[in-house]
Amino acid sequence: MSYLFGGGAKQDTGAVDPVKMEMAVAELDMITDVFNRLVTSCHQKCIQPNPQSHRYAEGELLKGEAVCIDRCSAKFFEVNKVVGERMQAMGGTAQATGGFGGR
């Protein structure tokens, strides 16, 4: 999942701030949690609409499946944004901004 993480650079060394590290780890955990749920949800919506009858006749992504994945991902990001806004509106302290760790 190396595509998820970039990495800036600021080369002065120093002491490790444990609180900062903990926040970063929590953010990292949330990003991968959301990513895993996105993978599962869109797999259900686009690849396995009927698990009982589906026998995986081929290993390639069909054209329709690929298009569905793109739309499904886009909708998932929108839902992420709406849920974040709603939680803030209800007084939550959500720092959610519609991105997953993007600033």
């Binding site: 929590a26 259900q44 992420n80 849920v83 959500a94």
Partner: protein
């Protein structure tokens, strides 16, 4: 949970651990709600934008889920309080 047998250093560390766990739980609540409300509300994949109906559904789903969690949490706290009282009466502590 009863921390009365914990000394000061232990209570301090436990407080930090509980705060950390609360942050993790909050984030899990958040991502779980995204998944749940997405699965319940996003049905049409002929478009990549949420329809007005889908968006309303997600908003209602989020509001309702938060109220649901809150109510369950209140019942859970009552139950735990009751169990602690019962245990104190039985053990005489």
């Amino acid at each position: 949970m009863d921390f009365s047998q914990f000394n000061g250093a232990e209570q301090a560390q436990m407080t930090r651990l509980i705060e950390k766990k609360q942050m993790q739980d909050f984030m899990k609540l958040y991502s779980g709600m995204v998944e749940r409300c997405f699965n319940a509300c996003a049905q049409d994949f002929t478009s990549k934008a949420l329809s007005t109906n889908e968006k309303t559904c997600v908003q209602n789903c989020t509001d309702k889920f938060l109220k649901h969690s809150e109510r369950v949490g209140a019942r859970f706290a009552e139950h735990n309080a009751g169990m602690s009282t019962l245990a104190r009466e039985q053990t005489g502590c």
